[in-house]
């Protein structure tokens, strides 16, 4: 895992894509999260039935999920 992060930092110095060349990166299907409404709905489905959760954010509260 440490190596992965070091690779990231090295990549940061090596990769440079000019702003005018980022058209594809701005596409909605390149977004890391689903749309806000769909993302909120998906939070209800798996975390309430599995022991693992989180990883993408902080500052959220819990729920007494059945």
């Amino acid at each position: 895992m440490k190596r992965t992060w070091i690779a990231f930092l090295l990549l940061g110095g090596c990769v440079h894509v000019a702003p005018y060349d980022r058209g594809y990166l701005a596409r909605p299907d390149m977004a890391l999260d689903a749309g806000l409404g769909t993302a909120r709905a998906l939070e209800k489905i798996h975390p309430s039935k599995e022991a693992a959760s989180g990883g993408a954010s902080v500052g959220g509260g819990g729920c007494g999920c059945n």
Binding site: T4, A26, A52, G59, G60, G62
Partner: protein, 369 residues
């Protein structure tokens, strides 16, 4: 419910001269487990970037839960099985969150707050996040801290009012890899203290030759430290007009849970307006150290027969379709959840795990502005 890490260059397609760019909309989730709970969740949401300086985001959620929930695990029939609540459960939850950020050059500082209330569970949370762009915005580093203060109650024990406090830290890097690909990797550490017992879960065990059974409530540790490593990759294939989306998360905690989650999706553009996104999610977890569907004859200090802490795996296919109309984006998702002991990686799930099957649908309408 936290505000997710964002990659600024991807948030919205830039519109020259626009003072406010964003979206607002509404969604509704319908979720139904076979023989268990049913949930309906309406959601309102909005997100805007103002003058390229301020970023605001908010959502409000209402949950309506009905149906039966597992209450006892008992071996009265010879093998441990779940016994459901007799009367149908009917619960409502109201939740909301907001996040405000301000850009200072390449640095964005933001603060968030979230609240969630149901009759037997109250949660307040807040967080701060710093996000800085480097390398001409090809690299974004995010650091975050959040705290949640929860209060656990119970409809069957009105005297129960126990606190739980969770501190969360997050560090993430988003890296543009090429004009058509990017990757994000984040580490999240959570340190929780307080009440983790589920007041609605019990274990009832009969022993051969013994007249009286043993009954124990859910008894979990009073702390939980967990660590999650999430990596997400996106790559667009211009010739095929499609995008590969792959997410992997490794999760571990000091309860003994180890879990892997992998989701792979392909979003296909169909003409100017339509897109279709088939996806498959796989999940596998090891059982918590104190998970047991029966009470050992020497009563343990900690025990939970809640099968969410058992060893199992799950497959969840889904299909999302979206269409862009004049000033609106309509999006629909349907999905299926199948959790089973045999789906655990390696196939050695907890034998008592009762297979869960559920279907869900999400409808969203969004107005970009």
């Amino acid at each position: 419910m936290g505000a997710a890490l964002a990659l600024p260059i991807l948030a919205f397609a830039p519109r020259a001269g626009a003072a406010v760019v964003g979206e607002m909309g509404a969604s509704i989730l319908g979720y139904k487990e076979r023989g268990l709970m049913k949930a309906t969740e309406p959601i309102l949401f909005g997100h805007a970037v103002i003058d390229d300086v301020w970023e605001v985001e908010a959502s409000a959620v209402g949950d309506i839960l009905t149906g039966a929930s597992p209450q006892f695990v008992t071996n009265v029939s010879g093998r441990p099985v779940q016994v459901l609540t007799g009367a149908s459960v009917h619960e409502r939850r109201h939740a909301g969150d907001a996040k405000v950020g301000r850009r200072f050059g390449d640095l964005v500082i933001s603060a968030s707050a979230a609240v969630s209330n149901e009759h037997d569970y109250h949660s307040k949370a807040g967080g701060v996040e710093a996000r800085e762009d480097f390398n001409d915005r090809n690299t974004t580093v995010t650091l975050g801290y959040g705290r949640a203060n929860d209060h656990v109650g119970s409809a069957i024990d009105p005297s129960l009012d126990q606190p739980r406090t969770t501190d969360q830290w997050l560090a993430g890097v988003t890296q543009v890899l090429s004009p058509v690909s990017l990757v994000q990797s984040s580490l999240a550490y959570s340190d929780g203290r307080g009440w983790y017992n589920d007041p609605y879960k019990f274990t009832l065990t009969f022993y051969p030759g013994e007249e009286l059974p043993a009954l124990l409530p859910d008894l979990r540790p009073d702390h939980r430290r967990s660590f999650a490593w999430l990596t997400r990759y996106r790559r667009h294939f211009a010739q095929q007009q499609g995008t590969l989306q792959a997410d992997y998360r490794y999760f571990t905690d000091d309860w003994g849970v180890r879990a892997h989650t992998l989701e792979v999706a392909w979003e296909q553009q169909l003409g100017e307006r339509w897109s279709l996104r088939p996806a498959l999610r796989y999940y596998t977890q090891a059982a918590a150290d104190f998970y047991s569907p029966v009470i050992p004859q020497t009563a343990p200090r900690l025990i939970s027969s809640d099968q969410r802490l058992a060893a199992f795996g799950g497959l969840s296919p889904s299909l999302r379709a979206s269409v862009r109309l004049q000033g609106l984006v309509l999006e629909g998702t349907i999905g299926y959840v199948h959790d089973a002991a045999s789906l655990r990686l390696g196939g050695s799930g907890s034998p008592e795990f009762e297979t869960l099957r559920a279907v869900y649908g999400i409808l969203s309408i969004t107005h970009p502005f």
